[in-house]
Symmetry: C2
Subunit: 223 residues, 2 copies
DNA sequence: ATTTAGTAAAAAATCGATTATTTACTTGGC
DNA sequence: GCCAAGTAAATAATCGATTTTTTACTAAAT
């Protein structure tokens, strides 16, 4: 008997939401830019209603600024905000990782190994970075997944998107990426050793290293 | 010369958003309920487009669940989620309050005194609770306002809305409210004394007390 | 020179109607 | 009686057009 698996239903609205989210995080729009809805409509070949619904969701999510009667703008970037985001990542991801180490089971360890391996392989074989970004996001999601708090995971995801707006301003830096990949590997090792102390310390390092990268991106970009 | 202050522009979409947010937090809709968009349209006397835009925003904010091709539902309630929300409030509001005590200036102290006084007076004179809820929210917002992190404030606000969905399931309890009001008063006192340790301890107590209330509300409601 | 008022163009928001999808119901087969 | 397929009704999503508001531009007035 065949399983009647529904093709994961999507709507024009949800599709354009995903695309715009990716493009906003990836820096395809300039910070502060005013979005020309009609232009987007053409560019993405989508109707006005689903487009507006997606923009509304993105505004509630924090990837757009909505001003009554004057449409949608891409949020500006500032060093203060980057610092804020990095600080929050340190606090929330640290908290989540510690809990994940307490509660994560064998399946989690397997997921971690798999995610780390996929990430390590991706950046060698692939030219385009989209795939690396996806796997990188997935790795960090896995790291904190079993923390036990739905809301904590939600906030962390949101902060990642915000953080990546800064980090992805700049070009890829192979040297730094190698260092980060090394940290990814060690994070998995410490997590599996259930060494909460050391793991959290390393995660702090990792976030701070990423922060340095993002800050460089931001500074050279705003000059 | 007269200042040309624009009447704070609003749109049908933003108005219905505010109303629905209030009604969702206030428990006017049953948990798990499927929203009948056409009914809402009539009930709130609003067009379909602004209504849908508001619902999309509320879903992104977490006060609604959106499922592709099957509209919007009110999120269900569960003890696990209440625990999660309360835990997160403890962590995030504690963090924010400590920072607020470090960075808050004289203007903050004034705001605190004012917010506390307004709240204390409100529950005596007013019959309807809407005003008390508004002032209570405002008090807690003031408490953490100068914490220095826009994102932290944003998350805390979101958690408050979620928490209140549970707390406002039940009837008003004058006895408990008196205890909470007492804590509000002491929170202000400790904040102004800049006693971060004690202040945070009391805020923890305060949240735990509120949690007990909310839990009772939830338990008796789900029975 | 700067403001003020007026107007045309552009853009945002909303409406009314249409299309697509799901849900509820019915009927026929086993 | 119970499941499956088919159909009708209900609902969600989307489209195309209209209305409202803002913005950009011009010209007159202080």
């Amino acid at each position: 008997m065949t399983q009647h698996i529904q093709p994961p239903t999507s709507t024009a609205s949800s599709r354009i939401y995903d695309i715009l989210r990716k493009d906003l995080v990836g820096g395809r729009f300039a910070a502060g830019e005013k979005l020309a809805i009609n232009a987007l409509k053409e560019q993405y070949q989508v109707g006005l209603s689903p487009l507006r619904e997606a923009l509304n969701k993105l505004a509630a999510y924090g990837l757009l600024i909505q001003e009554n009667q004057r449409g949608f703008r891409v949020p500006t970037l500032s060093r203060n905000e980057l610092d804020d985001i990095a600080q929050m990542r340190l606090a929330l991801e640290g908290m989540a990782f510690e809990q994940a180490i307490v509660h994560g089971d064998a399946a989690w360890e397997a997921d971690l190994l798999a995610a780390e391996h996929r990430l390590k392989c991706a950046d060698m074989t692939l030219d385009k970075d989209d795939e690396w970004e996806r796997l990188h996001t997935q790795f960090h999601r896995t790291l904190v997944a079993p923390c036990g708090s739905v809301w904590l995971l939600r906030f962390i995801e949101q902060l990642h998107d915000q953080f990546d707006r800064y980090r992805r301003l700049g070009p890829r830096m192979p040297t730094v990426r190698q260092e980060l990949d090394q940290q990814h590997h060690e994070l998995v090792a410490l997590a599996m050793k259930r060494d909460g102390q050391a793991a959290r310390a390393l995660l702090d390092d990792h976030i701070r290293t990423s922060y340095d990268v993002a800050l460089q991106c931001f500074l050279s970009h705003s000059r």
